[in-house]
């Protein structure tokens, strides 16, 4: 049974309570060491030289003028890569440094180490690279048939889904084409790290990343070293949102450190950060929805083209998601969906919060509104009528065995009170345009829109997804039990460090839990801090490692009492014996020494999709609905997002205040994509790589948020908790678009909506 809870915080410390962050105090004191704060005496500064062209042949590279500059210690190019010349999070198709050709604006060509950052920058400019520019291929649809831009060709992947009756048609058919622009993760702390040559000939790298172990494996391959000689330590991460899933400066730093024998630090500027990481795929989508007169979906046809840019990154998985979630969280008996991810000379695209589900949500939700209009139905009722339920079958043939509270999410989003209507008395700052170009109050039109979404949790399609945790319990300094949790999980701001403590306290009944620093040399992989997976995966690993600790303490008790294990019970952090008053406290049990247990948590196996896109490819799904209210000045094209309400399926909220923080932050990013955020790429050239030209929401752009957490425990998940990070960033943006369409009557087909799209938009006849 679903229970809807508001997020009143219980300020306790166990699972389900809004415990405080262990890194909160160092972060408010300014003592938390971000990767950009790393410092070693005698360290050098690294700088990357990047291609000014989107497509060019490299005729020659001459590093001598740079090397001649006093203070320069090394200049490295493709010729200096000691191991595999390429890297990649899925397939190594991206050169560490371009050698013969460059395939995107900003591709690394050389890296310099010098004794001062300004010397390094000057030296990078002195490297003489002669390019022969080539006309870039920038249209993803033309790229498919264009001459190959890479030996692996231009089509990364075609995901074809066929289900039901291909000839099925509906009484009512609506068709539409939609576009989504390129969004940047725009984490606040630009890429940075420090590589230190080690005595064993290996290297220690301190870096902000989302997945230490997979970075390590890519670095080791390109250094030509066994992985154990490359040790990664998590440095403080200033946000991630998918943008740190791929390697950026890691290999360059390690190469420079090993070449110079000195520690080397690198910090990207904001400008370089825009070139240094992958972005959210721009999408072009065509849809045709069929329904019967009663409003039941009959068939969904879709064709989705994702511009993957110059290199693969995680395009294969993103397009798989885009296809799998293309129809939205609705019952669709027949489907013909084709998703393509293609290579172009645009910047590489890969992971960003929502990962393929975001782009298609703009399409399927616009279609649902169009269909409702064609049917003369209320758009909320149409969605409720078609909403997925438990044991329904997806277009991929997967049966939904987990919690599927789609209707609860919709009802909860709609149940929140609407904001008061705008009045001429409202302060100017609350009108569209705010402090700058401000709407006249008489021109403001209000609109409301709803959007619904779903997405997978964890890695899919047969990937053996796992997380490792080790828990040690010992007597602390004053004899009190002290638990130490060791995981390589990347804390990127989401608050896994809080959850790890909560879980250990819950499982072991101890108050004192410390987290050991995350490092590849001390513990196995935790997998990536992405795909909303760490609560489930690393959380499950910590839970079961704690269970291992408990089992050892029970064994110890059984030996001490000379009794069978079955007679023993774990009770409030002590061991008791059935039928007796015997009781051993943790302190007594730990007299005999510490206990330690490790667990590698694997989720249920998933399967690859077959030739028709059918298969149990996903572990589990999260659902969310968002209702947006906007004020628009149609003449000036200005939008103010007034309110976003949501119902979000979380399984169970392990830390309600943190969950709400994820929801509000995710909605900010969804609103940003809907009305302001886009990397403008023109002929392959990135035009706005700065925070003056790439705008993200400020305090004044952020709408009011009211959230209802839908708690239906997920049967397979530790504590019944699903992930929570991505859903807020998925349907919030499409809800805003729907609200702007409602306010203006315009057939807006593209996100982000620009002022000219509204001011110059043509109303449908």
């Amino acid at each position: 049974m679903a229970s809807a809870s508001t997020t009143t915080a219980r300020r306790g410390s166990g699972v389900g309570e809004s415990a405080g962050r262990p890194d909160g105090v160092p972060k408010v004191r300014g003592e938390f060491a971000f990767s950009s704060d790393l410092w070693m005496d005698e360290m050098l500064w690294g700088k990357t030289l990047r291609s000014p062209h989107a497509s060019a042949r490299i005729v020659s590279i001459d590093a001598r003028p740079a090397l001649a500059l006093p203070g320069v210690h090394a200049v490295m190019t493709a010729a200096d890569v000691t191991g595999r010349a390429t890297y990649g999070v899925e397939v190594p198709d991206q050169p560490v440094f371009a050698s013969d050709v460059v395939r995107f604006h900003g591709e690394p060509v050389a890296a310099v180490a010098a004794d001062h950052p300004e010397v390094a920058r000057a030296a990078a400019r002195l490297v003489e690279v002669v390019y022969e520019p080539v006309e870039p291929v920038v249209d993803p649809e033309l790229a498919v048939t264009a001459a190959p831009l890479h030996p692996s060709g231009n089509l990364f992947r075609h995901v074809r889904i066929r289900r039901g009756d291909p000839s099925a048609t509906g009484d009512v058919v609506v068709e539409g084409s939609y576009e989504v622009g390129m969004q940047d993760q725009a984490f606040m702390g630009p890429e940075s790290g420090l590589a230190v040559p080690a005595e064993d000939g290996g290297v220690d790298l301190y870096v902000a990343t989302q997945w230490l172990h997979v970075d390590r494996d890519q670095i080791a391959a390109s250094l030509g070293m066994p992985p154990e000689r490359v040790r990664l330590y998590l440095a403080g991460v200033g946000g991630a949102f998918g943008g740190r899933e791929d390697v950026s400066l890691q290999i360059h730093l390690c190469l420079l450190a090993l070449r110079t024998g000195r520690p080397v630090k690198m910090v990207y500027s904001r400008d370089e950060s825009f070139f240094g990481h992958v972005h959210r795929h721009p999408a072009r989508m065509w849809y045709r929805h069929h329904a019967n007169r009663a409003g039941d979906l009959v068939k969904v046809e879709a064709r989705i083209v994702l511009d993957g840019g110059a290199y693969l990154s995680s395009s294969n998985a993103v397009v798989s998601n885009a296809a799998a979630f293309a129809a939205g969280p609705y019952r669709v008996p027949s489907a013909a969906i084709d998703g393509y991810a293609v290579r172009t000379n645009n910047p590489p695209c890969g992971a960003m919060r929502g990962f393929g589900a975001v782009q298609v949500c703009f399409g399927h939700e616009a279609q649902m509104d169009k269909l409702a209009a064609a049917l003369g139905m209320d758009p909320v009722d149409l969605r409720l009528r078609n909403a997925l339920e438990q044991f329904d079958t997806l277009v991929t043939g997967q049966v939904l065995t987990g919690a599927t509270p789609v209707r609860e999410c919709i009802r909860a989003a709609m149940a929140h009170p609407l904001p008061p209507d705008p009045t001429p008395r409202d302060p100017m700052m609350s009108r569209p345009g705010g402090a700058g170009l401000t709407a006249d109050d008489g021109d403001v039109r209000r609109g409301t829109g709803l959007a619904v979404s779903f997405k997978n949790i964890g890695y899919s399609e047969g990937f053996d997804d796992y997380a490792t945790a080790r828990v040690r319990l010992e007597a602390g300094v004053a004899g009190e039990p002290l638990a130490t949790v060791l995981v390589a999980t990347a804390e990127v701001g989401q608050g896994f460090v809080t959850l790890a403590q909560q879980i250990a306290r819950e499982e072991l009944g101890v108050a004192d839990v410390v987290l050991a620093p995350a490092a590849t040399s001390d513990v196995g992989s935790a997998g990536s801090s992405s795909a909303s997976r760490q609560t489930w995966m690393s959380g499950g690993a910590v839970q079961l490692a704690c269970a291992g600790v408990r089992r050892q303490l029970l064994d110890r008790s059984a030996v001490r009492w000379g009794c069978a294990l079955e007679a023993l019970r774990w009770e409030d952090g002590a061991v008791t014996r059935l039928g007796s008053v015997d009781r051993l406290t943790l302190a007594e049990l730990l007299d005999a020494g510490a206990v330690e247990a490790e667990h590698e948590y694997h989720h249920r196996p998933t399967k690859a999709l077959d030739a028709d896109g059918q298969g149990d490819a996903h572990l589990s799904f999260m659902y969310a609905a968002h209702r947006a209210v906007v004020d628009v000045d149609p003449g000036l094209g200005l939008v103010r997002v007034v309110q976003v309400t949501t119902g979000q399926d979380v399984g169970r909220a392990l830390n309600p205040v943190q969950v709400t923080g994820q929801i509000e932050g995710g909605i900010a990013q969804g609103v940003g994509l809907a009305v302001m955020e886009e990397i403008v790429v023109d002929g392959g050239q990135v035009r706005n790589p700065s925070f003056t030209d790439y705008l993200i929401p400020t305090t004044l752009d952020m709408p009011d948020v009211a959230a209802t957490l839908i708690e239906v425990p997920e049967p397979d998940a530790p504590y019944g908790a699903k992930g929570v990070g991505e859903p807020p960033a998925i349907s919030s943006g499409p809800a805003v678009l729907a609200a702007i369409r409602d306010a203006t009557g315009l057939d807006l087909r593209r996100a982000p909506v620009r002022p000219e799209d509204i001011a110059l938009g043509v109303r449908p006849a």
Partner: protein, 157 residues
């Protein structure tokens, strides 16, 4: 050139290039790395510090311009005995941070603002913080943190 700045109550003198920005003076010459750099274009506010008690973005001020003046950074906000400043305490208690990269700048901007306006409305807090970007939180808990801090009357002194 030689630049002397009183940083968090301690006089610091360092020989720097004339073009050195205050943020680099603080981070690299003084070793106060609590002040972060987020954008290089005065857009994000991560580098906000107090110059003679007023908030400035330290990436837009030359160290030379601060010569002979007082600078307070995030490291100077807690009491000498380590007690958190009420704004710091509120950010921690109200979950006003996630990754924490924007936090020092937010706290400093809030400190300057609350001195001018000790009892602000929510709308006034939002307007005051418009120059400080956060990508994690959606700002609501940041605004709540500052309103909670304002309720603590000791702060006004």
């Amino acid at each position: 050139m030689q630049v002397t700045i009183t940083v968090n109550g301690t006089s610091e003198t360092h020989e720097v290039e004339t073009r050195t920005l205050l943020v680099h003076y603080l981070r690299e010459a003084c070793g106060h790395t609590g002040t972060n750099v987020g954008c290089d274009t005065t857009s994000c506010g991560a580098c906000t510090v107090l110059l003679d008690g007023e908030s400035v973005k330290s990436c837009t001020v030359l160290a030379a311009q601060a010569d002979g003046r007082d600078v307070t950074t995030i490291e100077g906000m807690a009491s000498p005995d380590g007690t958190l400043h009420p704004i710091q305490q509120a950010f921690h208690e109200e979950h006003g941070l996630q990754c924490g990269y924007c936090t020092p700048g937010m706290v400093m901007a809030a400190a300057s603002f609350l001195k001018e306006n000790p009892d602000p409305t929510e709308a006034e807090v939002r307007e005051a913080l418009e120059g400080n970007l956060c990508r994690c939180t959606g700002y609501h808990n940041i605004v709540q943190s500052i309103l909670a801090a304002a309720k603590n009357r000791e702060l006004v002194s």
